[in-house]
């Protein structure tokens, strides 16, 4: 029997019971108390640009059709026929004017309306026996978008998305709004790993400490020079609202030179300058930091790196979004997208795409070593000894739980920031996880 109170007390103290990374009982609580309520990312509007376009995405085991109707409105519809429960859409993506159930041919429009069922009059006595407008596909209980990112919640009482995002929206813009047009997503690559979903989410939230060692090989071959210990230590870890992330310290310079250093061409820099607020520009130009990895609780992560992409030494930045889609306590489906500003020149887009493929995603050279670690943690967490072991996640605190250093003052972004290594962000992510699990079902 799971002692949730003991687990969350330890976790809040920075001592993490290892079995939470493999425990089916913990996973059941996550399903019922966290994912049944939280805002979760499904798709980006650029994946379904035209009327009739759709993609099918899941929130754990629940399949949803993310569709765009004839008037351009986006819908998120539970992919289960109202009659006998068949999936009405069995493709992952496409363009369809109607979703027709293969079982008895109940037929739904892209907005979810039930627009046809055979023998309505003969079988049901028409509207007298079955009111069609009451039998549309179930919409996601809550749906909202931010910068084209489509989020859903299974909780009809979910707070407004913008309230939920809070101050993390400031950072979200840096990844997803580099111009008025915003980003375009390509992908996703999808693959399954035998890892608990929390490990990746925590890692991206603030683990700058793993980079110099886990990713040594990437530095050794000259692909990406930043993940060296001294470079990571100069970076700031920030946390704001339900999100947090890591940064790298830029060489001395201004806004344009900072973005140029990571490989943005001048026309993109100009658009960022026009689109971002003063404070967002100051993060780069005054504070001198560039965002790298981040996680929006619970399971959407971001990454922004700038590797070398050819023999000339050209450096190109890329942005990736990834979803840690839980399959079970010990398995995760990773969905990883390449994201690029819609106004980016074709040459930049090609270099950025190449940078992404080399570093992250199913074949990425960073990601390869991360996943090896996470698979190993998950399998080791299944045993009896792991039930006794409290993993030390207290980096950056003294024995009394006080931060070893003051928050970093010269950081233009909202929230709290610490320079150097520390597990402030992972503990914060885990505290949100505790909050979710402690809520009554």
């Amino acid at each position: 029997m799971l002692d949730l109170r003991s687990i969350t007390a330890h976790v809040r103290d920075g001592l993490v019971p290892a079995h939470i990374y493999s425990d089916p009982e913990v996973f059941a609580l996550e399903r019922d108390r966290l994912f049944a309520r939280s805002w979760t990312f499904l798709a980006h509007e650029t994946e379904i640009p035209a009327p009739g376009d759709f993609v099918v995405r899941r929130v754990l085991a629940d399949s949803f059709i993310v569709s765009r109707d004839d008037t351009g409105v986006v819908h998120v519809l539970f992919n289960m026929c109202r009659h006998k429960g068949m999936q009405v859409c069995r493709a992952e993506a496409g363009n369809a004017s109607l979703f027709r159930c293969p079982y008895h041919a109940w037929t739904y429009a892209a907005d979810g309306r039930l627009v046809g069922l055979p023998f309505h009059a003969d079988a049901y006595g028409g509207e007298a026996g079955l009111v069609r407008q009451d039998h549309g596909l179930l919409p996601a209980p809550a749906l909202a978008t931010y910068n084209g990112l489509i989020f859903a919640s299974l909780d009809p009482e979910a707070p407004p998305l913008e309230d939920y995002l809070g101050d993390f929206a400031f950072y979200l813009d840096l990844y997803t709004r580099q111009s008025e047009a915003g980003i375009q997503l390509t992908g996703p690559q999808r693959w399954r790993v035998r890892s608990n979903w929390k490990i990746g989410a925590e890692n991206f939230a603030g683990d700058s400490y793993h980079t110099p060692h886990t990713h040594t090989s990437v530095v050794e071959i000259g692909l990406f020079g930043e993940p060296q210990p001294h470079k990571r230590k100069e970076g700031v870890l920030y946390a704001a609202g339900p999100g947090s992330g890591t940064t790298y310290k830029l060489p001395p310079g201004d806004f344009a030179s900072g973005l140029g250093y990571v490989g943005y061409p001048s026309d993109m820099v100009t658009r960022m300058e026009r689109t971002w607020t003063r404070r967002q520009r100051d993060l780069v130009g005054q504070s001198g930091f560039m965002v790298s990895a981040a996680t929006l609780f619970p399971n959407l992560s971001f990454v922004h790196n700038w590797p070398q992409v050819d023999d000339s030494g050209r450096v190109a930045p890329f942005i990736s979004l990834r979803l840690w889609q839980p399959v079970s306590a010990t398995e995760t489906e990773i969905l990883s997208w390449f994201a690029v500003d819609q106004g980016a020149p074709a040459d930049f887009r090609a270099a950025s795409y190449k940078a992404y493929l080399m570093c992250f995603g199913s074949s990425g050279m960073f990601e390869q070593d991360d996943v090896e670690n996470w698979v190993s943690i998950t399998s080791t967490a299944e045993g009896t000894m792991a039930r006794r072991l409290l993993l030390n996640s207290r980096m950056g605190l003294d024995h009394d739980g006080r931060p070893l250093a003051e928050p970093y003052g010269d950081f233009a972004g909202p929230g709290v920031a610490y320079q150097g290594f520390g597990e402030f962000n992972q503990r914060r992510w885990l505290a949100m996880w505790c909050d979710a699990l402690e809520q009554a079902p």
Binding site: A93, R194, E333, F338, R349, Y353, M358, S363
Partner: protein
């Protein structure tokens, strides 16, 4: 890319040479002699493994993954997924091999045990005068460690082999059409 309608007879010397090339190449991949494998590549090699997307038959499911209208993946100009797991040139393949040769590529240390099963080889003349188009099926068995269940990757391959300056065949182009929309292997630190 489809070859001409009929493959070369299996008794044709070009077919036998192409088949031998694939088997010898698979041996290098199985034994992770990757520096030697790089030596089989043309300087302008293109190695691409598109993401498979489940689509309805009406939407062209049987045509396999689709590149963008400009012929490339990842361009965004595709009206579909347009994404690849791997989309490599010699620079990026060389980097992958160099990385695995370091002492810090944890994902392949200890190394996977690999077995590439190459079958259904069909050879077509062309497209260029010194080129052969070769189709094959590949099944990759990958075992890591002693406790994990093994992974299987099944794919069809469309290759173009080109005769090099020394008269030997080199890989000029490979398209790997993987048979799963969601890969069930922890990463592609391995090649098909």
């Amino acid at each position: 890319m489809n070859g001409p309608a009929a493959p070369l007879p299996y008794t044709h010397e070009a077919h036998q040479l192409a088949h031998q090339f694939l088997v010898e190449e698979a041996h290098l991949l199985d034994t992770q002699q990757l520096e030697e494998w790089l030596g089989l590549l043309c300087p302008d090699v293109r190695y691409v493994m598109p993401v498979a997307v489940t689509r309805s038959r009406r939407a062209g499911a049987d045509q396999g993954p689709r590149p963008g209208r400009d012929g490339r993946y990842g361009s965004g100009d595709d009206g579909g997924n347009g994404m690849a797991h791997l989309d490599e040139d010699l620079f990026s393949l060389r980097r992958r091999v160099e990385r695995l040769a370091t002492e810090h590529a944890w994902t392949e240390d200890p190394p996977s045990r690999l077995r590439h099963f190459v079958t259904n080889v069909r050879t077509f003349a062309g497209p260029g005068p010194d080129e052969l188009s070769v189709q094959s099926n590949v099944l990759l068995f990958r075992s890591r460690g002693d406790t994990r269940p093994p992974d299987l990757l099944s794919a069809g391959r469309h290759d173009v082999l080109r005769r090099g300056p020394d008269g030997g065949w080199r890989l000029a182009r490979r398209e790997v059409h993987v048979d799963e929309a969601v890969l069930r292997t922890q990463n592609l630190a391995i090649l098909l």
